[in-house]
C-alpha cells in the first residue's frame, strides 16, 4: 500500500548517515564471481558501511549535479532507518525499538567498481544524498516487507523488495552496533537493491517505498 504524502512528524536532528554496501542478495549476486577474484577475493563478511557526509544532504525535489566527464549517475533507492536512541550492542529482538522512524534515501553515486577502495569522489559529492520526509516507526508494520519502486521519466525501471536483504533490518542493526554506536538522529541506509538506474542530465526519478511516500530528484549538468 502506498501512502502518497504521509504526515511528517518531528524527526530527530540529522546526525551521521551510514550506508550499507551490497546488502541485497541480488546486488551481491550481480557481482558474480568477481567477489572471489582480486582485488575483492571474498564476499563481505561483516556489514560494509560507508558514510554520506553532511555536504551530501539534500531534499525532495532537489537537483543532483552531473560532474564533468560523467555520462550518468546511479540513483540508489534505499530505506533509511532513523535512529531514535543510543544503540550499542543491540540484540536482534530489541532492534526495532531503537528506530524512531523511516525515510526514503537516494544514495547517489558516480557509477564505479570494484568496491575495493572508499570512493568519496564517487559517493560524497555535494547533494548526493537526498532524504525524504521521516515517518514514525508505527507507520511501517514490517521494514522487511516493503516494496521499492523507482520511476525514471514516468516509467518504472526498478522494482525491489526489502524481503531480499542479506541482513534484514534487525540483524543489520545488531551486527552494526556490535562495533559502533548509533545515536539519535543517525540514519542507517539498509542498502541499494540490484538494478539501480542510471540517469543522464535532464532525467527525473521518483523513488517510492511502501508507507513512506516518494522522493523525487533529477539530474542536471554541472
Amino acid at each position: 500500500m502506498l501512502v502518497k504524502n504521509p504526515e511528517p512528524f518531528e524527526a530527530p536532528l540529522r546526525g551521521t548517515v551510514y550506508g550499507t554496501l551490497l546488502n541485497f542478495r541480488g546486488a551481491l549476486a550481480a557481482l558474480g564471481d568477481s567477489v572471489n577474484q582480486p582485488p575483492l577475493k571474498a564476499p563481505p563478511k561483516a556489514p560494509i558501511l560507508y558514510i554520506k557526509p553532511r555536504n551530501t544532504f539534500a531534499a525532495d525535489g532537489d537537483a543532483v549535479s552531473l560532474p564533468d566527464g560523467v555520462d550518468a549517475l546511479e540513483f540508489g533507492a534505499s530505506l533509511a532507518l532513523v535512529i531514535g536512541r543510543t544503540a550499542c550492542r543491540v540484540a536482534e529482538r530489541d532492534a526495532l525499538d531503537v528506530i524512531a522512524g523511516y525515510a526514503i534515501a537516494n544514495d547517489v553515486s558516480v557509477p564505479h567498481q570494484p568496491y575495493y577502495r572508499p570512493s568519496l569522489r564517487f559517493k560524497c559529492r555535494d547533494g548526493y544524498c537526498p532524504i525524504g520526509a521521516v515517518v514514525p516507526r508505527g507507520a511501517v508494520p514490517d521494514p522487511d516487507a516493503l516494496a521499492i519502486t523507482v520511476e525514471v521519466d514516468g516509467e518504472v525501471v526498478q522494482r525491489a523488495h526489502t524481503s531480499t536483504l542479506i541482513r534484514p533490518v534487525e540483524k543489520l542493526l545488531a551486527d552494526v552496533t556490535e562495533f559502533m554506536t548509533l545515536s539519535r538522529g543517525d540514519l542507517l541506509l539498509i542498502g541499494v537493491p540490484e538494478g539501480a538506474p542510471r540517469l543522464r542530465a535532464g532525467q527525473r526519478a521518483t523513488i517510492r517505498i511502501d508507507g513512506l511516500g516518494e522522493l523525487r530528484n533529477h539530474v542536471v549538468a554541472a
Partner: protein
C-alpha cells in the same frame, strides 16, 4: 593560541595551557589529571582520514595490499562515535590479533572550501590537533577498505589535547611526529614526507565536496606501527601541537 575542551566539576569548559597544567576560562587552574579531556573540536563536522599518505608506511603495508596503483589520495570517513579525548581509554577486543595506533596531524577546517586551489588552501585551516587513529587489522575486508569495522569503532580515534590556531603553526608541512608505547619510541616521522600535503588535500577534497568549518582531516600516519595490548600507554606527539595520551584496555571494563 591553544584551546582545549574539558569536563570538570559538573560542566564542560574551555581551557588553555598553564604552567601547572591548564586553566579554565573562569580562572581555575587545574592539573592535567584533574579533568576529563574531550575532543577539542566543537561543533564537529565531517571526519576525513587519509590512508597510505606516507610513502614508507605504504611500503610497510605493501605485502598485504591487493593493489598498489595509487592515482589519487585514499580517503575514508569516520563517525563521531569513534572519537575520544586526551587521556582516554581505547578498547582492544579480546581475540584481536593486530591492533595498532596511528599518530596523525589533524587539520581542522575554519572556513568553507569549495573548488579551492592549493595556493589559497591554507587560509581555510582553523588549526591543528593530534590524532591517534587506531586500526584493528583483523577486521579488514576488501570492500571500501579500510572498512568501518576497522576504522570506525567506538573510542578508537583519540583527538587532542589542544586545538592550536593555524596562525601559531607557521610550518605545518615540517613537523616531527612520534609515538611512544610505554615510553619506548616506536614510530617517528615528519609531515614533510606526506605524499599529499595539506594544501593539496584541501584542493583535492574541495574539488568534489564542500568542506565546512568543523570538518577535520586526519592526514595519515608514518611507518612504525606495532601491536598494542591492554595496559599499554600510547603517547602520540607532534612538535608544537601537543602530546596525546591514550591507554589500551581490554573487554572487561565494557562488560564483555
Amino acid at each position: 593560541m591553544k584551546r582545549a575542551r574539558v569536563a570538570y566539576a559538573g560542566a564542560v569548559h574551555d581551557a588553555t595551557p598553564h604552567r601547572d597544567g591548564l586553566q579554565l576560562a573562569d580562572g581555575r587552574v587545574l592539573t592535567e589529571d584533574a579533568v576529563v579531556w574531550l575532543p577539542p573540536i566543537a561543533p564537529l563536522g565531517t571526519i576525513l582520514a587519509l590512508g597510505l599518505n606516507y610513502a614508507e608506511h605504504a611500503k610497510e603495508l605493501a605485502k598485504e595490499l591487493t593493489t598498489s596503483a595509487k592515482d589519487e589520495p585514499l580517503v575514508f570517513l569516520k563517525g563521531p562515535n569513534t572519537l575520544i579525548g586526551h587521556r582516554g581509554l581505547t578498547r582492544r577486543p579480546n581475540g584481536a590479533g593486530f591492533m595498532h595506533y596511528e599518530c596523525e596531524l589533524a587539520v581542522v577546517i575554519g572556513r568553507s572550501a569549495k573548488n579551492v586551489k592549493r595556493a589559497d588552501a591554507m587560509a581555510h585551516v582553523a588549526g591543528y590537533t593530534v590524532a591517534n587513529d587506531y586500526a584493528i587489522r583483523d577486521y579488514l575486508e576488501n570492500y571500501y577498505r579500510p572498512n568501518l569495522r576497522v576504522k570506525n569503532r567506538d573510542g578508537c580515534t583519540a583527538l587532542g589535547p589542544w586545538l592550536v590556531d593555524a596562525a601559531d603553526v607557521p610550518a605545518p608541512g615540517a613537523l616531527d611526529l612520534s609515538t611512544h608505547v610505554n615510553g619506548k619510541l616506536v614510530q617517528h616521522g615528519n609531515t614533510r614526507d606526506l605524499v599529499t600535503g595539506i594544501a593539496e588535500l584541501i584542493e583535492y577534497l574541495s574539488s568534489f565536496m564542500t568542506l565546512a568549518p568543523g570538518d577535520v582531516i586526519l592526514t595519515g600516519t608514518p611507518e612504525g606501527v606495532v601491536d598494542v595490548q591492554p595496559g599499554d600507554e600510547v603517547v602520540c606527539e607532534i612538535e608544537g601541537i601537543g602530546r596525546l595520551v591514550n591507554t589500551i584496555v581490554g573487554d572487561a571494563p565494557f562488560g564483555r
